[in-house]
C-alpha cells in the first residue's frame, strides 16, 4: 500500500521507511512559528530548563520564526511588554526569522512564512496558531500546536507525540463561475463536512481546479481546513508551488516536491464540482453554518472587513477594488481593509488599489490581524453585524459577544459595502 503526502513527509522526518495511520512518530521539525504568544512559549521554555543545570537554549535558531501580527502596533501596555520581552529573547538567541512591527517586512504570520520562502514542500511546520494549516498550500505538513508543545519543540527539535493522521482526499473539478472563487469553495466544503467532519484528519486537495489555482487561493483553502477540524490541509507541491517560491519568494535552491503514491489509502474521498457554485456565506455563530448568498441577501451590515490570513492578499484586494472603483461605501456601513503583509500593502499602493478603496470610503489599516480576533481595532458595537473575509465567526470573535459575524469572499464583501446589506456580487 502506498503513502499519502503527509505519510511520506512524516516518514522522512521521523527517519523511517514508512509510516501508517495511527503510528506515533517523533518528526524532526523544519520550521517552528510563533507570534505574540511566543511570550508564553518563552516562559514554558525557561521552565523546561529549570533545575537541569543547563542554560535555556533553543535547538536551532534558524528554524524558528517569530512574527508580530495579532496586536500590532500594541493595543495595551501588556501586549507592548510581551513584545518587548520577545524582542529581547530573539536578540539573545539569534533568531533571524523575526518580523517586528514594521512597514517593510511586517505582516500576518501565515502570509510572511510563504512570502519569505520559509516554508518548502515536504517540510514539517508547527505553529502556535491553529491556522498554521495555511502552509499546506506549499506542500508542507503544517499544523497548530499549543505554547507548551512549542516550548518542547524549541528544546528538543522534534514534535514528541504525533499520531499519523488519516487523510481525506478532496478532488475539485470545474471552472469557477464569475465572482466565485477559493473562499466559496472552502466555505462550501466546511458546510458539507461540518466543523468536526475532518477532526484529527488531513485534507489533501487534488483536481484540475486546484492545479489551476494560484498559491493565494490555495493558502485560503488550507487556512480554513482547520475549521472542519482538520489537523492540516495540503496541496501536494506542483508547478505553481515552484513558480510561487521562485518568482514571488525568491527561493533559488533546489525545491523537491513530495507527491502521494497512486495507491495511497484515503479514509474518505470527497468530490466537488465548482462550475455551478454560488457565492457562499458562513452565518453566525458557526463556520459550518454555510448558505448560498441568496439565502441571506438583504441582511443589514454595519461593518465590512477585508483582510486576514485568509483573504488579505493582493488578488483579494484587487477583487474588492474592481467592484468598488467609482462607487461609495453605503452610509451607516464602515469598511475596514487590512492587507495581509507590508509587501502586499506596498504593491496595492503601487497599483492604485489603496487609492481606489479609500476613495470609495474604506479605511485601509496597517497589515496585521486587525479585528479578526477581536482584541485590537475594529470591535463591533452591541448587536452590530459584520460581514468579513476572515475565517471564524464564533460568538464574540470580533470583540463583542452580542455582535454577529458573517464570513464571505472579498467579492461578496465589496458588493455588500456598496449596498450596506449582504449582496450577491453576480447581480
Amino acid at each position: 500500500m502506498g503513502m499519502t503526502v503527509v505519510e511520506k513527509i512524516l516518514a522522512r522526518a521521523a527517519g523511517q521507511a514508512t509510516v501508517k495511520v495511527g503510528d506515533v512518530v517523533e518528526p524532526k521539525v523544519d520550521l517552528a512559528m510563533s507570534h505574540e504568544n511566543a511570550a508564553l512559549v518563552i516562559n514554558q521554555h525557561k521552565e523546561v530548563f529549570e533545575g537541569t543545570g543547563l542554560a535555556p537554549k533553543v535547538w536551532d535558531p534558524s528554524r524558528i520564526a517569530i512574527i508580530f501580527d495579532h496586536r500590532v502596533p500594541a493595543e495595551s501596555p501588556k501586549t507592548a511588554t510581551n513584545q518587548k520581552k520577545i524582542r529581547e529573547f530573539v536578540a539573545a538567541h539569534g533568531i533571524a526569522k523575526f518580523h517586528d512591527v514594521r512597514g517593510d517586512v511586517g505582516g500576518i504570520c501565515h502570509q510572511i512564512l510563504p512570502e519569505y520562502g520559509y516554508v518548502r514542500p515536504g517540510y514539517v511546520v508547527v505553529g502556535t496558531d491553529s491556522h498554521t494549516t495555511s502552509h499546506g498550500a506549499l506542500g508542507a505538513f503544517s499544523f497548530g500546536i499549543g505554547a507548551t508543545e512549542m516550548a518542547s519543540v524549541w528544546s528538543l527539535g522534534v514534535a514528541v507525540n504525533i499520531e499519523v493522521p488519516a487523510t481525506i482526499k478532496v478532488v475539485v473539478k470545474g471552472e469557477f463561475p464569475p465572482m466565485v472563487g477559493p473562499k466559496d469553495l472552502i466555505l462550501h466544503l466546511i458546510g458539507k463536512l461540518t466543523a468536526q467532519g475532518a477532526n484529527y484528519k488531513v485534507l489533501e486537495f487534488h483536481g484540475e481546479t486546484i492545479r489551476k489555482m494560484s498559491t493565494s487561493g490555495r493558502i485560503a483553502i488550507c487556512n480554513m481546513s482547520v475549521e472542519a477540524g482538520a489537523t492540516s490541509g495540503i496541496v501536494p507541491g506542483d508547478e505553481e508551488t515552484l513558480r510561487y517560491l521562485r518568482e514571488e519568494a525568491g527561493v533559488t535552491e533546489a525545491i523537491p516536491c513530495v507527491t502521494p503514491d497512486a495507491d495511497a489509502d484515503y479514509c474518505q474521498v470527497v468530490e466537488i464540482d465548482v462550475s455551478a457554485l454560488a457565492p457562499q456565506i458562513a452565518c453566525p455563530h458557526m463556520v459550518d453554518n454555510v448558505k448560498p448568498v441568496e439565502q441571506v441577501a438583504g441582511t443589514r451590515v454595519q461593518q465590512i472587513v477585508i483582510g486576514s490570513c485568509t483573504n488579505g492578499r493582493l488578488d483579494d484586494l484587487e477583487a474588492a477594488a474592481a467592484i468598488l472603483r467609482g462607487k461609495k461605501v453605503a452610509e451607516g456601513t464602515r469598511m475596514l481593509v487590512f492587507p495581509a503583509s507590508s509587501k502586499i500593502f506596498a504593491k496595492a499602493l503601487d497599483r492604485g488599489i489603496v487609492h481606489d478603496l479609500m476613495k470609495a470610503g474604506a479605511v485601509v489599516m496597517n497589515s496585521g490581524c486587525g479585528p479578526c480576533l477581536g482584541v485590537h481595532e475594529g470591535a463591533l458595537g452591541d448587536h452590530e453585524v459584520a460581514l468579513s473575509t476572515t475565517n471564524r465567526n464564533f460568538k464574540g470573535r470580533m470583540g463583542n459577544p452580542t455582535g454577529e459575524v458573517y464570513l464571505c469572499s472579498p467579492a461578496v464583501a465589496a458588493a455588500s459595502a456598496i449596498t450596506g446589506v449582504i449582496t450577491d456580487p453576480r447581480k
Binding site: 537541569t52 468536526q196 464574540g396 459577544p401
Partner: protein, 163 residues
Amino acid sequence: MSKVIIALGNDISTDDIYPGRFMATVLPTETPQFAFFDRTEFNAQLKAKAFPPGSIIVGGENFGCGSSREQACSTLKGHDVAVVAKSIARIFLQNSINLGLQVVICPTLEACEGDDLEITADQVVNKTTGKIYDQVKLPAARKGIMDAGGLIPYTRARLMARA
C-alpha cells in the same frame, strides 16, 4: 463522585472558553479569572469558588474547537475542574494533556447540570440516572506525557537524557 456544574452543547469554541480579547494575559496564575467570561453568571460562580475541586464541565461534540490558545486549558485547570465531552478538538485535547487538565472523552454520555458523575478508569457513571458510559481511551503515546506530570517535566527528562 463529582457534580456537573454546567452542561454545554456541541462545538464549544476556545473563544467561548477564553475570549480572544484576553489573550495578552498568558500566566496560568492570571488566566482563570477569564474562564467562560461571556457566560457572565457562570464566570462569576467560578471566580467566587462556588464549586468544589474536581467539579465537572460536560461538553458535546468537538469541545474546544477553534484556536490553539493554551489559555483555554490553563483557565480551566486553574479552577480545578474536569471536562467530560463526547469528543474533543485536536489542539485542545493535546494542550490539556500537556498541561495536566483532566479531560475524558465519552461519546454517548448523557448528563445534565446537577447530575453526579463518577469517573472510573474506563467508564463514566451517571449516579443520578444510573447509566454507565464507556470512555474512549487516550492514545498510548499520550500516556507517557501524563505519567510524567505534563509536557514540561516530560521534555525536561528527555533533555536530561540527551545531556
